[in-house]
Amino acid sequence: MPSLIDLMLEGRKVQQHGPWPRAIVDASVWTFAASELAHGRWSLLGLWGEPSMVHMSIMDEHTAEIATISLDCPDHSYPSVSKYHPPALRLERTVRDLFGLSAEGLPDTRPWLDHNRWGVRFPLGNRTIALPKASPYAFLPVEGDSLHQIAVGPVHAGIIEPGHFRFTASGETVVRLEQRLGYTHKGIEGLMTGANLERAAQLAGRVSGDSTVAYAFAFSRAAEAALELVVPDRAVWLRALVAELERLANHLGDIGAICNDASFALMHALCSVLRESVLRASHTAFGHRLMRDIVVPGGVTRDLDDEGKKAIQATLDNIRRRFPALVELYDNTASLQDRTVDTGVLKPALAKQYAAGGYVGRASGRSFDARRTLAYPPYDSLRFDVPVLNDGDVNARVWIRVREVEQSLLLIDQILDRLPEGPLGTHAGHRRETREGMAIVEGFRGDVLVWLRLRDGRVERCHMRDPSWFQWPLLEAAIEGNIVADFPLCNKSFNCSYSGQDI
């Protein structure tokens, strides 16, 4: 069995691409990689386009090796990966929508992000004028006796992002759920093109509001990899601090919100109070409740002073005092467990096939956490556990979050204890030549991938892949056979990003 390195040797290596290699390969190597993915030997990290080239990033989970292969497609077509490996399906549909590159053998040729409302087709490739009239989106057929459909969204009943869910149910049981997304597509990768580093980092931080730190972190690391910048120690540690605060706030919010979807409002009320306390501490320490625009290429924009440190420590103390009672409440409430245990089961095999990141993967036996597996600084010198469960149900996803809250508390303690002194950033300088970089950062939801090419201080192409790309399809699988009333629980326990996947 060839390794990823062998695969790279088959192609023409691209210079000045860091930290992992990229090679331009031919169609046979591309197809070979697709079949290896299909056999489960490697995992798909991302697949994205350019006007006449496609890229695919692959990881070998056993060795934590990562490589990117690229295929020239002068005639605007390439061999489909999703024909062999379904996780690539929505990515290939998107590459077609944005760049006009078609995948030969693509099993589903319906558009994905393009709802025929942009007034233009292939906006990032060779633009053509839009089709004269949008045809209705053809949802997959479901046949059988006594089936009915329930259409939900894009405007939902709660304060949440827009998306459309088409349920087919037999009585109360969901037979099929089909998602239609793309409503929040803002064309961010288009706006990135030609942007300077400052504006591009700002845009990256606005891909998904709850992961603004994770995106800014991933973008900055990718830019630094391209420019071979060394970030000062204090900035490296402060980045981890804001990343853990973001994780903490989101997990606390989610634990309460999942229980709320089982009508257990007390838990929601108490978890919201803890979440709010984290946001307030973040505001005191870094001047912004969600910590937007704190992480930038080269370093961070805000320092932590004594007041901020005290605010964070007081919040940690408060959470340590109150959180265990909430965990106990969750664990001892049979009516709540009745809704979460054995609900929305995601089988470990599917989580592995889709290389599902974050709590979705870790609740279904996939022990991947970019902080540990890829051990980027400062996590390479911090102690923490990566919790893993195998049940794959809503309950398991709640418990993974609970454990991660505890781990984040420990991590923040270590960071505050060992925070080194020194400058907050280094200047990016000006490089005229073309340089490429890539980064993977663990957000609260899973691994965020950013790949970019810089030329003359500006972004020539930047691709950002949200963990939700590989989690949304799994929600469709996990809901099957559950009752309609349990959908909110399943959905919230996945908590996929709309804006992040619609980009």
């Binding site: 709802h115 929040t184 803002k186 706006l191 009320a269 109070v273 946001l279 009672a325």
Partner: protein, 177 residues
């Protein structure tokens, strides 16, 4: 659960004082709603939130309004599930082209009199997403906006000040007619 409920009998509430309406920012906000349709609503307002393509940052802060610190329901502000139940639609995001029709249809479904509150910097003019092929660029391009609450995202206090200004203005104008 008994223990937690029992504790709450003795603990001070988390809920904080209502933010002051005397800030200059609020005066400006109140002036901005001067031309809004007017009718006595008492101190009760039902809000239908519509995400028209935001990054979800504004939604997180709007959610926070419901937590025990801000507890918006004490002001008669209530988030409702259907536009048919709403007095106000609160819109976030730069309005993506893919959401334009859904926003229009939600607006049309709200009975008169109705107000539109645009929340966040990108709801004003598209913010940092302005100029994209996929974005309309500002809520007022699609539906008439009565009040804009700036911020990226605005904090819960800022949102609350804006909504109170809207209520205050409405109540005053109702009293004078």
């Amino acid at each position: 659960m008994r223990k937690l409920l029992f504790e709450s009998l003795f603990r001070l509430p988390f809920t904080e004082q209502a933010p002051s309406l005397n800030d200059t920012a609020v005066t400006e906000l109140a002036a901005a709603v001067g031309h809004a349709a007017r009718r006595r609503l008492g101190r009760s307002l039902s809000i239908r939130e519509v995400d028209a393509g935001s990054c979800n940052g504004c939604e997180l802060e709007i959610h926070a309004l419901n937590n025990a610190y801000y507890d918006v329901e004490r002001f008669g502000l209530r988030f409702v599930a259907s536009p048919r139940h709403a007095d106000v639609i609160m819109v976030t995001g730069p309005v993506t082209k893919n959401m334009r029709e859904a926003l229009e249809r939600t607006y049309d479904a709200v009975p008169n009199p109705k107000w539109v509150v645009a929340v966040g910097d990108c709801a004003r003019d598209g913010g940092c997403f302005a100029g994209s092929y996929a974005v309309v660029g500002g809520v007022s391009q699609v539906v008439p906006v009565d009040l804009h609450i700036p911020g990226c995202p605005p904090s819960p206090v800022t949102i609350l000040q804006g909504l109170l200004a809207l209520l205050d203005r409405t109540a005053k104008s109702a009293a004078s007619t």
